[in-house]
Symmetry: C2
């Protein structure tokens, strides 16, 4: 039995994590024989994090043989494969790092092939735990809430993991998440679906607004002039939370500025309508008493 290093992290708070790092110590976790199915963006960051935590990645299966070989060489993984049916025996953990849409197909190919001592886990924010049933293994979810790219390794320390599974799966996944990240939460499939929906509002949709902002800037000016402002705002959001971080003309009920902005958007009716909708959600009733039709500059 080799040992796996892990944080002695007991607090689930972010600040707690960094405070706890200085208390990092070796805890006894059995070494693990792990296989990954899927050589994508997540695997690129997860494999070295698992290795540094002391897990032994014994196999990487990828539909794309060339990419699988590339990644095995990069990370010193002895065995490859292109189909789930080629899985080695006697694995402690099989992690699915394929796309959400591929999970049912992969699980179907594993039906009846895994031992009850193996944990099969997926890493998806939106696929329910029940999608893993029928393989004969323990099943679990090991979901890191973070962006990944093959262009660079994303550090996993401090990344929140959301865990779900039967007791046998959690017994393995909890210490693994402690070792890899130091920050994890139990969350059922319904809660994870909510978390994923909220992430669309917290990340995908703000990015659209950044794109619209860029399109509205003075000609020739680089979007990066907003970097200090946006970063200062993000600092405030995570220090004081979003409700306390709201500013702007809509919050102040500053109708002359709101109307001047609508006038500047007069030739882009979809943006003007969105401006009006968002302003009214920032301060319900901000337009009250304004004639919806016929006010200056309205579409």
């Amino acid at each position: 039995m080799a040992k796996m290093r892990a944080f002695s992290e007991s607090s689930n708070t972010f600040r707690g994590l960094f405070a706890a790092k200085s208390l990092m110590k070796t805890v006894e976790i059995p070494s693990l024989r792990v296989a990954l199915i899927g050589a994508g963006k997540l695997a690129w960051s997860l494999i070295p994090a698992l290795q540094e935590a002391g897990a032994e990645i014994v196999q990487l299966i990828s539909r794309d043989a060339a990419r699988g070989q590339h990644d095995r060489e990069a990370y010193g993984i002895p065995v490859g494969g292109t189909r789930p049916a080629e899985l080695l025996p006697d694995l402690d953990l099989v992690l699915l790092t394929v796309s959400d849409a591929s999970i049912p197909e992969v699980v179907g190919q594993l039906a009846g092939r895994l031992s009850p001592a193996t944990v099969l886990a997926h890493c998806s924010g939106s696929v329910p735990l029940s999608a893993l049933s029928g393989t004969g293994a323990q099943s679990g979810v090991f979901y890191p809430l973070q962006l990944f790219t093959r262009a660079a390794r994303t550090p996993l320390q401090g990344v929140p993991f959301f865990l779900e599974g039967n007791p046998g799966a959690l017994e393995l996944l909890q210490p693994l998440a402690t070792a890899v990240s130091g920050r994890w939460y139990p969350l059922d499939s319904a809660g994870r679906r909510q978390l994923h929906l909220a992430a669309v509002w917290a990340c995908n949709f703000p990015n659209l607004l950044f794109r619209l902002a860029e399109s509205l800037m003075p000609a020739g000016m680089d979007f990066r002039v907003y970097e200090p402002l946006v970063r200062q705002h993000i600092d405030k959001v995570f220090r004081e939370l979003p409700a306390a971080s709201q500013t702007g003309p809509a919050l102040r009920g500053d109708l002359p500025t709101l109307q001047a902005h609508l006038q500047m958007l007069a030739d882009q009716p979809a943006l003007a309508e969105l401006y009006r909708t968002l302003s009214d959600l920032i301060r319900p009733g901000v337009w009250e008493g304004q004639t919806k039709k016929g006010s200056p500059g309205e579409p």
Copy 2:
């Protein structure tokens, strides 16, 4: 003539700024006798930055006498006052750090009182230069694109300043912006209005989306679990720009996920409608071929 330190910054790029810091040297700028009108959030950060750049803040005028006195004591400013008419003579620069709405009133009280050798400048993102006419002074705009608070000093190094004015004003404001920030751009009033409108899209509106995200999270979970994800995303936005940073189900045209999300928003029709609008702006036509009425989960 005292000297004012300034960066020898010639590039207006953000990365250029940090590269140039190591080349920081003393350049010859005449010392300035400066008065501020307005003891608010901006003044709280701007006064010490001006002092560190070598300017002499000789007077702080504040409608709120107690706050004016507090700030004068904090920053060692010799003379106070509560009305613009109390301005000292022989000033090089009068900076208006009052609210946008108060600028016309303050300018009215200064009418005919300033010497042609004095520069009168405001620091507003949305007030035109023309609002400063009629005082007899040189007029200019000295607008820092940043959030300010009285709770803490906001560093001004690297904050983009946007400058406008007649030649006499720019001759003073340009080296001052170089000394205080190292990063400034010439921009006329129309361009500044565009910049301000785009800032609403880049900051105020994303904050609303963060608030909505928080309201949609699993019960009892802290918004700060999104901190690593959002910060990673913001890094990407300013490295690769917003268009290259878009992700999510709408971009992928992932209709099952979009419809599942709409179903989860079924009892909040305003959010469901906004979800649909934003998704369609991320990928125009994403709903095409979907029945608007009667699809699963739609309001």
